[in-house]
C-alpha cells in the first residue's frame, strides 16, 4: 500500500492532544469504499457511527425480495452488514420526500441516465453536516476516491460537494485524503494524515488490497450499481412516467412499481403492469386497493395493475395483454375480474393477444 501513499504529503510531527475522543459520522452505502473509509478512521481511535440515507432508489435487493427466482438468495441490507463488520451503530434515515427535488431538479444535471450523482452527494453530505451539528460530532467521513466516478468523484467536483454542503473542511475522504488539502481532523491531529491514502482512478485494486490488509474477505459489489437511477431501463420507465403525467413528479409507490413487472403502455393515458412470476403477483396484490387491476379467474395468470385513467375498452385491452402472459394464452377466451381503483368489480372475458398483436413500442 505504500506505493499508493503521497510521499509529498504534509507530515504532522506534533499532534495537538484532545481530552475527549473525536467523533465522526461515516456515510455508509454498503459498498467497499465507504466500509474502508470508516475503518481507516476508526482504526485511528476516532468514535465512528454510520449513516445511510434511503432515497427510494437504492437497489438493496428489492427485486430479490420480490421475484421468485431471487427469493432463495441470501438477503441482507449491505449498509447494516458493513456496520456490523465495523462494530458501529448505523442510523438509517428516510429521505424519500426531501430527495425528490434532487431527482427532479438537479442543479448539476444528470449522468448517463437519470442519475444526479453530484447533487445526490451534495445532498447527502449536507444532511450529514446537519446531523453532526445536531449531535455534537466533529466531522464527516466518505468513501470518495478521486477519479472513481465520472460525475461526482472528480478532482474538480470534490470541492463542490464540500462547499455546497457547508461541510467545508469537516469533510474527510480517507481513501484519497493525501491528494487533497489537509482537512480539519487532519490539522487538529484527530487523524494522522500519514495513515490516510492517495487512491486515485477507477482501479479497484488498491481498495481490494486494503480490504485484504484489514482482513475483510467479504464485501458487496464494489463501486456503482447501488442506485436504480443509473440503470438505463429503469430511467426509461421513470421518463415515461413523467411524460404521461406531463410533469416530473413521483410518489414512493410509483418508483417502487417501476422495479416490478412488465410495463406496457398501449395508450398514452394507460399503463399496464403485468407480474412476471408468483412473487411479483404476490407483491402487486398489495397495491390492489389503490389501483385498478385484473385478476385472472379461468386460468393461472399474473396479477395486473392498470395505471392512469381507465377509459371505455381499456380494461378489455389490458386483459388481452395480461391473458397473453397467463396459462390460458392458447385458450379461445380467458376470464377476469376487473376491479376499479374505487373497488367496483365486474367480470369480463377476452381472447388473449398473440405475441405479434403486442406492438413492440408498447413495452416501456
Amino acid at each position: 500500500m505504500a506505493g499508493q501513499r503521497n510521499q509529498g504529503a504534509v507530515a504532522f510531527t506534533s499532534m495537538p492532544t484532545r481530552q475527549t475522543q473525536p467523533k465522526a459520522i461515516a456515510l455508509i452505502s454498503g459498498g467497499l469504499d465507504s466500509l474502508l473509509a470508516a475503518k481507516v478512521v476508526k482504526e485511528q481511535g476516532v468514535h465512528v457511527e454510520g449513516i445511510n440515507y434511503f432515497t427510494g432508489f437504492c437497489v438493496e435487493g428489492h427485486t430479490h425480495a420480490i421475484r421468485n427466482r431471487d427469493r432463495t438468495r441470501h438477503k441482507r441490507n449491505n449498509a447494516l452488514w458493513s456496520a456490523e463488520q465495523l462494530g458501529i451503530q448505523l442510523h438509517i434515515v428516510d429521505v424519500i420526500d426531501a430527495y425528490k427535488d434532487v431527482v427532479i431538479n438537479p442543479k448539476h444535471g444528470y449522468g448517463a441516465n437519470l442519475n444526479p450523482c453530484l447533487d445526490c452527494k451534495s445532498f447527502m453530505v449536507t444532511r450529514a453536516r446537519e446531523w453532526i451539528e445536531d449531535n455534537g460530532f466533529d466531522f464527516i467521513v466518505t468513501g470518495e476516491v478521486i477519479g472513481q466516478r465520472p460525475m461526482s468523484q472528480r478532482r474538480e467536483t470534490l470541492p463542490v460537494i464540500a462547499n455546497e454542503s457547508g461541510a467545508e473542511d469537516r469533510l474527510l475522504r480517507p481513501l484519497c485524503a493525501q491528494l487533497l488539502a489537509p482537512t480539519l481532523p487532519e490539522r487538529m491531529g484527530w487523524v494522522d494524515r500519514e495513515q490516510l491514502y492517495a487512491f486515485n482512478g477507477r482501479s479497484r485494486k488498491p481498495q481490494m488490497a486494503l480490504a485484504e490488509q484489514f482482513g475483510i474477505k467479504e464485501y458487496a459489489q464494489p463501486a456503482g450499481g447501488c442506485c436504480f437511477l443509473t440503470d438505463a431501463t429503469y430511467a426509461t420507465k421513470l421518463r415515461d412516467l413523467w411524460a404521461s403525467r406531463g410533469e416530473k413528479r413521483y410518489e414512493l409507490d410509483d418508483i417502487m412499481l417501476l422495479k416490478v413487472g412488465r410495463h406496457l403502455r398501449p395508450r398514452p393515458h394507460l399503463k399496464v403492469i403485468v407480474a412476471r412470476d408468483a412473487g411479483e403477483t404476490q407483491y402487486l396484490r398489495g397495491y390492489r386497493k389503490a389501483y385498478a387491476h385484473l385478476l385472472m379467474t379461468s386460468h393461472n395468470g399474473p396479477m395486473t395493475l392498470l395505471e392512469g385513467e381507465v377509459h371505455d375498452g381499456d380494461a378489455e385491452l389490458a386483459a388481452r395483454i395480461a391473458a397473453r402472459f397467463g396459462q390460458g394464452r392458447a385458450a379461445s377466451d380467458v376470464q377476469f375480474d376487473f376491479v376499479t381503483a374505487a373497488g367496483v368489480a365486474r367480470s369480463l372475458a377476452v381472447a388473449p393477444f398473440k405475441p405479434e398483436d403486442i406492438a413492440p413500442e408498447w413495452y416501456v
Binding site: 428489492h62 425480495a65 428516510d94 398489495g286
Partner: protein, 83 residues
Amino acid sequence: MSAYTLDAKQLLCPLPVIRTQDRVATLKIGDVLTVYCTDPGALSDIPTWCRLHGHTMLSSKEDVDGVIELVLKVGSPIYHAQQ
C-alpha cells in the same frame, strides 16, 4: 413494560428497519415491539439492527402467507467503545 405492534407489511428493505428504528425511538427500555412485515430481508436486517443498537430479539417467525413476525425488547442505547 408495555407491548406495541408495528405494521411494516408490503414495505421493502430498508423501510421495515427504518420504521422499526423510528418506532423504537419513541419507546421506553423494556418495552416490547412486535413488527409485522413481508420482505424476507427483514429476517436478517432487523436482528442486525437490534444487535448494533443494544436491543434484544425475542422471537421471529414467518407464516404460510409470507407474513414475518419479529418480536424485540427495547434495550438501553449503546455507545460502542472504540478506543
